[in-house]
């Protein structure tokens, strides 16, 4: 609006009236959603308790333990417990990783709350015990909790506690968002890369402005495993520990959604055609950036950091740095499987892949072997069994004719290697990596030693029969390509 330089008297009165009306409205209101007078900026001190928690490592009705996040618990006061633990988790098929956790899982459970709620948080450092049914070889150590959703003194609330200690503090989320939480004990990089992170979803006071049919949490993070120098094993399989050098140079082996290589391919997020889906996406890092994309759809809304005030419309990807997040909403246009990827494809090939399954059928692993025609099945019994073993144990790391994954593309392997070499390799990659130059050169290239698959000689021969079959077939497929 533009005013004339010298308005006539009546005009001036009108302007004055207008200004005072505006002032009155500003006083009475529509409330600023970020009005500091409504925020909690006077948190009470944290307390250290002697009694340690027992029983479950996480508790609280506002917590969700899987990708399918529960609706908001309407209670204003939310009491939650997230204890730390050490345990071995499987981050990729056959890769047993020595993890440090919140709530005995990686990622930790998701807390859902609303601006203005009161969170009563407590945590026992239980790294000195081993949860029933889990295994750990890791020495107990100090840990801490840093909630990005809180505004509090880090020296007080985020202090590290020793094994056996319990810390408790309250906080009030002042801003809506999708916030990271993580351990902040030095070396922070190592604590995060070992699995100590999760999400707090904070809804605006008035809720979200849109309605959706499905809500899921997707957390991207990296793993930097190396074989345990002490040679521990679980079920005969080698244990991997954090590679403290590679994590510094950002040479990740896996970049994953929800804690597992291709985890959301194995367990797709379900939706129906026509439905509207809301994803709470957090990129933990610790060091990679995510260019989050869902193949086959467009984000109707992107709320950066999970705050509807930071709205973008019609986005193909959303770029997320470490500890950046977004809420993305999109329509599932028709029957199909919509592929979630980090469009930095180097990251996707490390496992940052997932599916929104709106096919109505039973989830399967289509994505994994879609280049091999369904009819291309060996008839020889040996090779058939070999193919079955391959699909059960090897496909997460190897493709046939689709390029390198975690390990080399195995198409042509019978031309590269002798059957004798293959038998020795399959029976004990570990021994070969110690003694065989070809194996050592492969390791140099692929960075991750292939875990021992516990194969018998008979299984190895079945696999080799299958390799010979597809190498024959490979020629045929190439020539018959459309």
């Amino acid at each position: 609006m533009r005013h004339p330089a010298r308005p006539p008297v009546r005009g001036r009165l009108a302007v004055l009236l207008g200004i005072s009306l505006l002032a009155a409205r500003a006083l009475a209101g529509p409330a600023d959603p970020f009005d500091e007078s409504r925020m909690d900026l006077k948190p009470a001190p944290a307390t250290l308790l002697k009694a340690r928690h027992t029983g479950p490592y996480a508790a609280g009705s506002a917590l969700s333990f899987t990708a399918a996040i529960k609706p908001l618990d309407p209670a204003h006061d939310k009491t939650i417990r997230l204890d730390t633990s050490h345990k071995i988790i499987e981050i990729a098929p056959g890769v047993q990783y020595s993890a440090w956790t919140f709530g005995n899982q990686v990622p930790g459970p998701t807390l859902r709350a609303r601006v203005g709620d009161r969170i009563h948080f407590s945590m026992t450092n239980r790294s000195d015990e081993i949860a029933p049914g889990s295994i750990s070889f890791q020495a107990p150590m100090m840990h801490s909790m840093d909630f990005h959703a809180a505004m509090v003194s880090p020296q007080d609330k985020y202090r590290s506690i020793a094994p056996g200690q319990t810390i408790a503090f309250d906080f009030t989320p002042n801003y809506p968002g999708v916030f990271m939480y993580h351990c902040g004990t030095p070396m922070i990089l190592e604590h995060i890369a070992s699995g100590m992170y999760g999400v707090v979803v904070v809804e605006p006071r008035e809720g979200y402005p849109t309605k959706v049919d499905r809500e899921y949490v997707v957390i991207q993070s990296e793993f930097y495993p190396k074989p345990d120098p002490q040679g521990h094993k679980v079920d005969g399989k080698p244990v991997y520990v954090l590679d403290t050098e590679k994590v510094k140079t950002k040479e990740s082996t896996y970049t994953v959604f929800n804690g597992r290589y291709n985890g959301l391919v194995e367990q797709p997020l379900v939706a129906k055609p026509g439905e509207r889906v809301r994803l709470f996406v957090l990129n933990v890092g610790p060091s990679n950036t995510s260019s989050f994309h869902v193949v086959g759809t467009i984000f109707d809304r992107v709320w950066l950091d999970g705050n509807p005030r930071n709205e973008l419309r019609g986005m193909q990807t959303v770029l997320l740095g470490s500890s950046s997040s977004a809420i993305v909403e999109f329509r599932v246009p028709e029957k199909g499987k919509y592929i979630m990827v980090d469009h930095h494809f180097a990251n996707a090939s490390q496992g940052a892949l997932g599916l929104i399954d709106a096919s109505g059928g039973t989830p399967d692993t289509d994505l994994e072997h879609h280049n091999i025609p369904a009819t291309a099945t060996p008839t020889d019994a040996q090779a058939v069994q070999g193919k079955q073993i391959f699909e059960g144990k090897c496909i997460a790391c190897h493709s046939v004719g689709e390029g390198n994954k975690v390990g080399p593309d195995l198409l042509g392997v019978t031309r590269r290697r002798s059957d004798g070499w293959l038998v020795r390799w399959l029976k004990s990659p570990e021994t070969m990596l110690k003694s065989d130059e070809t194996a050592q050169a492969l390791l140099k290239k692929f960075n991750l030693p292939m875990p021992d698959q516990g194969l018998s000689e008979a299984d190895a021969l079945r696999l080799i029969a299958y390799f010979h079959w597809f190498d024959q077939q490979g020629k045929a497929m190439k020539s018959g390509e459309h």
Binding site: S144, Q155, T185, M187
Partner: protein, 146 residues
Amino acid sequence: MTGRCRAAAGLLLALGAATALACGHCIEDRVAAVYDYGVAQQAGREGLRVAYLGIAGRSAETAAAAAATGDALRGIAGVAPGTLRVAAAPAAAAFAWSGDEAALARILQTANRRLVAAGLRLELLRVWEAGRGLVEPPPRGAGGRM
């Protein structure tokens, strides 16, 4: 920015991620840097306590300072053999000791005398004791000169 300020910033940069990532100021972060569960267990078994110390001084957060601290503490009577731990960033040290608070004060006095030339000083941050866990040390003067 004063010259000294710039020098300090330069040092921080030189030290890199370790310092920048850790809060560094948090007492517990320093304790965590040298916390060794095995040492605490051993101390518990042998009726010892564990002292966690910050290393103060202008050039504290360096490998050289950590090494000097280790040298200064090693071999002092009362420091339990094999329990000494030092870290450069955050700058901290820990060891199990036998005896009372006055014994600890004497250990620190000896070490601090040895560290004067290097411009370093040890400050008691926390004490671990079986049954009590990690606790704040008694205020200065309460248990001998610390």
